[in-house]
């Protein structure tokens, strides 16, 4: 068993990791609440933006800040285009079918990235915030500014979106849309326009997350694309509804994962399988939450 002093060093790492989970988890829940689409391509879209940034930084003479903006712009454009074309086409379908649609997008992006950048090893996209760090008091170790921005961004997006969905007219329209598209349309809400705004916002979040994640996790096609599976755990614990529970779950998952790291000796297995934490917690939480399942009759979705 590691000592308390030693474990304290991993608290910050855990919170930073939790911030990373929260970034993606909250981004996924926001789009789901607004459009009913679970975007499995969230990671792949951000990764594409990050790789285009890397291309601009390393193979062209553009200033770094333009390259970083390009990451956000590309991710926003891809998400928006997909949403505007396939959102209405799949609008009447089951949430599962909508999610599989985004899986198609993820495969297209994964194939494209592997084709273009798959042969180049050891890529990295340094951000100016990574080189600056801050030493925390009471022996909690060192944290860099990218980690701080990651955590703050996760919290800010959660708070901002929660307020937006609750307090604004557009947010209310988005919630209504996610609940029942046809009834919302009959009430006079311009559903396509509202959906387009939701996809645009989600794209922005994708781009910013992609930039931060490529720095925190490394610029790797598969890691960035499939990190979404771990991040989904937090969203699932919140049953894809509550933004605040997603944030809290992400922080708990990050903390548990990091605090299991120093285990050794008889408890080495805990350390070895610490990356399994999101999956175990999500499966247990979902089974617990679904223990009183009732059969409901709903309109048949195709």
């Amino acid at each position: 068993m590691p000592s308390l002093e030693f474990s304290k060093l991993f608290v910050v790492t855990g919170l930073a990791l939790g911030g990373v989970y929260a970034l993606s988890g909250v981004g996924i829940v926001v789009l789901y609440r607004a459009t009913g689409v679970l975007n499995l391509a969230f990671g792949a879209i951000g990764a594409l933006g990050a790789f285009i940034s890397w291309e601009l930084v390393n193979n062209t003479g553009v200033p770094d800040w333009i390259a970083y903006l390009a990451c956000v712009a590309v991710a926003t454009a891809v998400t928006f285009t997909y949403g505007v074309i396939f959102g209405p086409l799949l609008a009447a379908r089951d949430p599962l079918v909508k999610a599989i649609g985004t899986l198609g997008l993820a495969l297209i992006l994964l194939g494209t990235m592997s084709w273009k950048w798959g042969q180049i090893a050891g890529l990295s996209l340094p951000l100016p915030t990574t080189t600056r760090s801050y030493t925390l008091p009471n022996g909690f170790g060192v944290v860099n500014w990218t980690q701080i921005i990651g955590i703050s961004f996760g919290i800010a997006v959660t708070a901002g979106t929660a307020v937006f969905l609750r307090a604004t007219k557009l947010g209310t329209a988005m919630r209504a849309l996610a609940d029942d598209r046809e009834i919302t349309a009959t009430l006079g809400v311009p559903v396509r326009r509202v959906e387009a705004v939701a996809w645009l916002g989600s794209g922005l979040m994708c781009g910013i997350s992609g930039l931060l994640l490529s720095n925190l996790l490394g610029l790797d096609i598969v890691t960035l694309t499939f990190f979404v599976i771990s991040a989904l755990a937090a969203a699932l614990i919140a049953r894809l509804r509550s933004l605040w529970i997603t944030l809290a779950a992400a922080m708990v998952i990050g903390l548990v994962t990091a605090l299991l790291t120093p285990f050794s000796g008889d408890f080495q297995t805990l350390s070895d399988f610490r990356t399994m934490t999101p999956f175990v917690l999500a499966i247990v939480a979902l089974l617990w939450l679904g223990r009183h399942r009732t059969v409901t009759v709903t309109r048949t979705a195709r």
Binding site: F86, D94, I100, L107, T112, T225, L232, V280, A282, V295
Partner: protein
């Protein structure tokens, strides 16, 4: 009238069975005769991955449940096959059945949440299970004759999984795999066309209605998971025999997603869809590489294919191709008739 109707049905079934048997014979005899060792191994993989697609297709197309852990279960089947193969001297078919049964049990365990969850949540839970299984593989690797429960003694071992004595060569093993796959396809057909198939269809259409009709939803859902996992486990066992040595890199989570994509493209409502899925999954990337193109193009095509299937052709290529061919035939026939009458085309 009913008599002639039944006779025409019987005749139709007989014709179909004869065509399938002839096709199978051609595959068993012609493929090894005209292809090199490389393409023979690719063809063996096609048969193996068709089985994995069959499991995924059965679950989605027949019961309406999506499993995103089929490739991980394929790895479980391979692991069990290797472990038992090194630990015992049991005959190959018994090892295959054991791999299927143990994978079936693990698959049923993963399917247990299906009793409480459905649709999107179930798909995501299976995706998490796939990621967890892949993590175990990456920590312990596949058995290669080493000591202990995990049976792996580092990289570089020269041990390989033995093949059945009647199928030591690549050609014989290809035929062995195709015959084993055919038996499992027949098992699936037997299920689909009898009581379980009707129960699954009822559950897929409406679970409350199925419950009201007296269908034991719990048993039939778990049965579907057990059957699909059994098939995938046997496929994993066949893969172990084909390749000899397995590595965790052969079963990434991304492949589970790709398998779902090709299964949808092939068609989830027809057993032929699984065969097409196997061809797409294994033959298409190999062909692209042979033509000097990147196999990543296949991944892009699968993504485009999924979107096309979801938007325009939910029954996949298995239903779309015959329909398109029939339309083409009608069009050509109409043009020909107009030509004969001397009318302008």
């Amino acid at each position: 009238m009913p008599g002639s109707w039944a006779a025409s049905i019987r005749r139709g079934t007989l014709v179909r069975a004869t065509v399938i048997a002839a096709l199978l014979l051609v595959v068993l005899l012609a493929v090894p005769a005209v292809t090199s060792v490389y393409w023979l191994k690719v063809s063996t993989s096609v048969a193996i991955y068709s089985l994995a697609a069959l499991g995924a297709g059965l679950l989605y197309g027949r019961v309406g449940m999506v499993s995103l852990c089929q490739i991980a279960l394929l790895g479980v089947g391979g692991w069990v096959m290797l472990r038992l193969g090194y630990a015992t001297s049991l005959p190959f078919p018994i090892l295959l059945i054991a791999a299927g049964v143990i994978t079936g049990c693990i698959g049923t365990l993963i399917g247990l949440p299906a009793l409480r969850l459905s649709g999107l949540y179930l798909a995501l839970i299976t995706l998490m299970a796939a990621a967890a299984i892949t993590l175990v593989f990456s920590k312990h690797d596949f058995p290669n004759g080493g000591p202990g429960f995990w049976g792996a003694e580092g990289i570089g071992g020269t041990n390989v999984q033995r093949r059945p004595s009647i199928a030591e060569s690549d050609t014989a093993y290809f035929r062995y795999t195709v015959i084993a796959a055919t038996i499992l396809f027949l098992l699936a057909l037997l299920h689909v066309s009898s009581k379980p198939g009707r129960a699954w269809a009822a559950i897929r259409e409406s679970e409350p209605a199925a419950l009201a009709a007296g269908v034991n939803v719990t048993v039939y859902k778990l049965w579907a998971f057990a059957l699909a996992s059994f098939m995938t486990g046997v496929a994993g066992g066949l893969l172990a025999g084909s390749v000899g040595v397995l590595a965790n890199s052969g079963f990434p989570t991304s492949d589970s997603l790709t398998l779902l994509a090709v299964t949808l493209m092939g068609g989830i409502y027809s057993l032929w869809g699984a065969v097409i899925a196997g061809i797409l999954f294994k033959l298409l990337p190999a062909l692209l590489q042979d033509w000097g193109l990147s196999s990543d193009i296949a991944t892009i095509l699968f993504g485009v294919g999924v979107l096309q299937v979801l938007v325009t052709a939910p029954a996949g290529l298995a239903a779309q191709v015959p329909k398109d061919l029939a339309n083409l035939g009608r069009l050509i026939g109409r043009l020909f008739r107009r030509d004969v009458r001397g009318q302008p085309t």
